[in-house]
Symmetry: C2
């Protein structure tokens, strides 16, 4: 198996080699800009890591799909930024803001097509499965985004609603990243399914961690301002859990805080953080993350993975859920 650093370098080079040099520039330049904003490159890393559990033969058959996952992920972010009217991403202007909405729509559209073009670099015998898993996943990500948008307009959602939404919006693509790596490496159906489930649970843990860090994280590590979700009344795990456990009076207090305006942003954030602490929701979040982490590792048990494979997967999981940003 390659080391973590070696895999990261391989991914970096693959992304640099993406051919953005197409015309018209007005279409492909924003695309290149979006990809250059960077990020953790989590999905291609997961894809390659899963592949590399079984094979050291890293070539375009696996790199194409790995890159496809990153292109697709960035396409979803590009369109999300329009729908959220977001000005910045990772401290840089969004394509929506730097250019305009029409550019963001169209560059996003061609990104989703490019993802399929890179997916097609895999020409092995399991092409149909690869394509099917990718398309099913891609549709689910859209479904998750739809639920996320619908939730903004209703006052209350259950924890089941929330978990279903993040399952679609976040976890399936993370699971697909691992699934594709395993399928392309020729893993057995049983091990592929186990890895998919491992990654799905990790994906849930990842999103809840994201929600947690937005409120309780370290701004300089997290890379964005703390409290954005609270300011936007976003239905995060923390908020949904709060409403779930709160009594009548506490719900009224939560509603009061939610009604606070942008002019009282700092107060709102502090007030909500205190409620989260007081309701035990901060601690419950950490426990929940650990529970999904545990489920992820449990999904691998008794499936014939070697000690070395388990170690690699354990390290990856820990890194994902114990991060600070």
């Amino acid at each position: 198996m390659y080391s973590r650093t070696e895999l990261d370098n391989i991914i970096f080079r693959s992304i640099c080699r993406i051919d953005f040099n197409r015309e018209p520039r007005g279409l492909y330049e924003p695309l290149e800009y979006m990809m250059s904003i960077g990020g953790k490159r989590l999905r291609p890393r997961l894809c390659l890591t899963a592949f590399n559990l079984f094979s050291d033969n890293i070539d375009e058959n696996i790199l194409g799909p790995a890159v496809a996952l990153e292109i697709f992920h960035n396409f979803t972010l590009l369109h999300d930024d329009i729908m959220d009217c977001a000005d910045t991403r990772r401290g840089q202007l969004t394509v929506y803001k730097k250019w305009n909405e029409n550019v963001a729509i169209l560059s996003g559209d061609v990104m989703s097509i490019m993802a399929y073009q890179y997916l097609a670099h895999y020409n092995g015998s399991r092409r149909d499965r690869v394509l099917e898993m990718f398309s099913d996943t891609a549709a689910k990500v859209c479904e998750g985004q739809q639920y996320d948008m619908e939730f903004e307009d209703i006052p209350f959602i259950t924890m089941d609603d929330y978990m279903n939404m993040i399952g679609l919006k976040t976890a399936v693509l993370i699971a697909c990243s691992v699934g594709l790596g395993a399928i392309i490496a020729g893993a057995s159906d049983e091990q592929t399914e186990a890895l998919y489930n491992y990654a799905y649970q990790l994906g849930l843990a990842f999103q809840i961690t994201d929600d947690y860090l937005d409120t309780f994280g370290n701004a300089s590590v997290f890379g964005k301002k703390i409290g954005g979700d609270i300011r936007n009344n976003k239905k995060t795990w923390l908020l949904v859990e709060s409403f779930r456990v709160a009594d009548h009076g506490q719900r009224a207090e939560l509603d009061r805080i939610l009604a606070m305006g942008e002019d009282e942003a700092a107060k709102k954030i502090e007030a909500m953080k205190e409620m989260y602490q007081m309701l035990g929701v901060r601690t419950a979040a950490i426990a929940s993350i650990e529970e999904y982490h545990r489920k992820a590792m449990a999904a691998l048990e008794g499936k014939g993975f070697s000690a070395e494979q388990i170690t690699r997967l354990k390290e990856f999981a820990a890194e994902l859920v114990h991060r600070e940003g």
Copy 2:
């Protein structure tokens, strides 16, 4: 070979059978609405007609891709309507207007994914070619739309610019529709290429016809108000040709008409129509359409097509370019 009516019925049933019954409804309902708005279903018809030149074995292997083309085409229209801020399409509210922009973006996104899902219903030996042609075409349609948008902001384009843009925005998808039908039917490379070229030339003729009818068509047949392109200063074949042939004084007159506002819409349309007539551009458009029509048929010569096949293709071509709406 099936008759035209039989093929139309097959397509109608295939589109009715598309599974829109997915959740969340908020995502799939606008998609279903868009597909129900209807239209000529030109691209699946071309696909099936091309296929049926060679084979009567019409099943999901060809119907899936045929439907994929229609879904993809409607996805491009859905996003185009956002970018153009269009309120109506075929006399009905656009998804953008009936719902809102975010819905239109996201429903469009999932449509482009569904297109790939339906494309994958073809599981024959030429899957890679089918996927490659579809993705290359899809990217080109986005490129054409980009050029079309860029042209709005520059005062002057050449006829080469215009032809390149409609080649990408319109003709390649029409050519791809025919190409996929031929490939899936197992046609030879030579005949597939000939059919692709036939359809590409027809696609150019189709777009120029569209431009012509918007100004000189019969409103009740055309299905939309006459003169929309003139009101919007759209760089159509007619306008581009006018600037190409006009002398200095005539260009000044064209610019004067273009500068007329919405309050003078009726006058503007009449004035521009007169200029087109006076410059011989109306006649030239008809000649140009016929020239591309001729080139389309010429692309089929000496390629071993039977008389019956040629007759079918000739009828289709004539219908496309001699239409009134």
